[in-house]
């Protein structure tokens, strides 16, 4: 049982709170003085940075939502000049625009340390080969775990996603110890092993650090059996940092939040009141340690509860349950965040009626997304080739906006569900 940073991860609660208080005070000043958006928000609420004297004062601060990032696209929420940034990542926004996040050198250091704590939480050591099968790029998954592995002195193997047979080959030839990917991809690799007739016991692999999409305890058991590993959950979102905001320890009983950098609250999404520990509500984070993007009470839209009882692993940090849903309509498909409004945006851009229905399913353990679109007179043609090119045009526009493959199904008019109030746009048939 090893802990990466015991002086904080196993510290007394009062020590952790003191660290949080000191950081919140500094962060409130940074946000107020350097982010016009926060200056305006605090001025409107008649709050001065001086009013923030301890972590208990956090409830005085306003909330931040994803659309605030969109409204200040691309760099308007940054508290430092662009020259101070050493990295930019981006994830899906609610419409065509990406949610952009930036990091100073110190921010990358913090994030890498948090990712390293997560790898150690999964039993990783500096002698391990960390096989990173998250995508590398604007998505935080790949580079986040990569830097975490390097931070702790382990060997990072930047495989990135895709080409599953090559993944298997590397697992066999390089003797990777820990794999980092989405749980659905871990399942897929496990099934590929089985199909190739490879006994998972013949691999050195002993753990998976799996995240970026919701999964169940049943999936955990299945992955553990298929790959003959222990499967650890990891949580993160690019707005807060990336993977490593919280992580499973060997007890696999709630994810430890790196709360010295990311202060968690759970609120009632309707009343915005902070809920008592243990109650389910919307998870909110404040980035008390970050310089470039000091998000204040950022509403993650993930529904979970905080666990404050001390964990048997020895860590004293607060834990969170697996997210059990969302307080908005965001879908996570193959680890990619998808908002139905993005589909609407694509249809309108192409001059089509925004009449659509999304069907999400999981086939052979991989998520599939079908966008059903009603055929209108304007889109119709008497030749198959023209209809197929309309379909392809739509599919490629969806691919470039959503960053995942979606198949388009052209439907007869009137065949999509209609409703009186808020339109039902999604049927998620996955059992997660």
């Amino acid at each position: 049982m090893s802990v990466y940073k015991p002086e904080i991860e196993c510290a007394t609660r009062s020590y952790i709170r003191a660290v949080q208080s000191a950081r919140l005070i500094k962060m409130a000043e940074n946000a107020y003085n350097n982010v016009p958006f926060y200056k305006q928000k605090l001025d409107e609420a008649d709050i001065k940075p001086e009013d923030i004297k301890s972590i208990d004062d956090i409830v005085k601060l306003p909330f931040t939502v994803k659309n605030d990032l969109r409204d200040n696209y691309p760099f308007g929420m940054f508290a430092v000049p662009q020259g101070e940034l050493v990295r930019i990542h981006a994830s899906s926004g609610t419409t065509g625009k990406q949610t952009v996040v930036g990091y100073t050198k110190e921010d990358i250091e913090i994030w890498s340390e948090c990712a390293a704590r997560s790898i150690v939480g999964a039993g990783g050591t500096k002698d391990d080969i960390i096989h990173v099968s998250y995508g590398y790029g604007l998505f935080t998954g790949g580079l986040g775990m990569h830097y975490g592995a390097e931070h702790m002195g382990a060997t990072a193997l930047p495989v990135s996603s895709g080409n599953t047979k090559r993944q298997v080959q590397l697992l066999q030839d390089f003797n990777s110890d820990i794999i980092c990917c989405t749980p659905s991809y871990a399942m897929f690799i496990g099934e590929t092993l089985r199909d190739m007739g490879i006994d998972p016991k013949s691999l050195k692999l002993r753990a998976g650090i799996l995240g970026a999409e919701p999964w169940t305890e049943n999936m955990r058991k299945e992955i553990e059996k298929l790959l003959d590993i222990k499967a650890y959950d990891i949580y993160g979102l690019s707005e807060i940092a990336g993977p490593g905001v919280s992580f499973d320890c060997e007890m696999q009983d709630g994810m430890h939040i790196n709360e010295d950098y990311f202060y968690p609250e759970v609120i009632d999404p309707d009343t915005l009141e902070v809920l008592p520990d243990g109650e389910f509500g919307e998870l909110v984070f404040t980035c008390i340690g970050k310089e470039a993007l000091p998000l204040v009470r950022y509403r993650t839209r993930d529904i979970c509860a905080l666990i404050t009882e001390k964990c048997a692993c020895g860590r004293t940090t607060v834990r969170m349950t697996k997210p059990r849903g969302r307080s908005d309509d965001m879908l996570i498909i193959r680890g990619v965040n998808v908002f139905p409004s993005q589909v609407e945006h694509v249809l309108l851009e192409l001059g089509m009626d925004p009449n659509y229905f999304i069907v999400v399913d999981r086939k052979n353990n991989l998520d599939t997304m079908e966008v059903q679109v009603e055929m209108t007179s304007a889109m119709f043609s008497d030749t198959v080739s023209e209809l197929e090119s309309t379909k392809k045009r739509l599919e490629s526009a969806l691919q470039s906006t959503l960053n995942i493959n979606a198949t388009v199904r052209l439907m007869e008019p009137g065949s999509l569900p209609r409703s009186e109030g808020k339109a039902k746009r999604v049927n998620d048939m996955r059992k997660i």
């Binding site: 055929m375 043609s381 030749t383 209809l387 197929e388 007869e412 009137g414």
Partner: protein
Amino acid sequence: MFIKQLSVFVENKSGRLAEITAIIAKANIDIRALSIADTTDFGILRLVVDKPAEAEKTLKDAGLTVSLTNVIAVGIPDKPGGFANAMQVLADKEISVEYMYAFVSRDTDRAYLIMRVKDNDAAASILGGSGLELLSEDDVYKM
């Protein structure tokens, strides 16, 4: 010179063709010729009927996506080589056919082709100029 063809968007599900054709049957519309183009997800039902404008309205009122397209109807002798000959005429002038279907008549020794090409005018003048019989709307609708 051209005749009207109805094109109807149809989802691939069983019973759909019966439902759609029942709509025009109820309006007392007679089908002269038809073909179906199909893909995995959907099909296009193409119809030549006796009252195209009425049929279009009836189907639209029933909520279907319908379009009226100009196509060419050509009469050819119903004997070996009749069809090949007509195709050779188009091939010589490098006119390519987007789609086509055919039917034979009840009481003559003629066969009829319904075809859609990229450039209808060019194709019609070539076919007409080569001595092939081009059918008018009346010829077809009253058949």
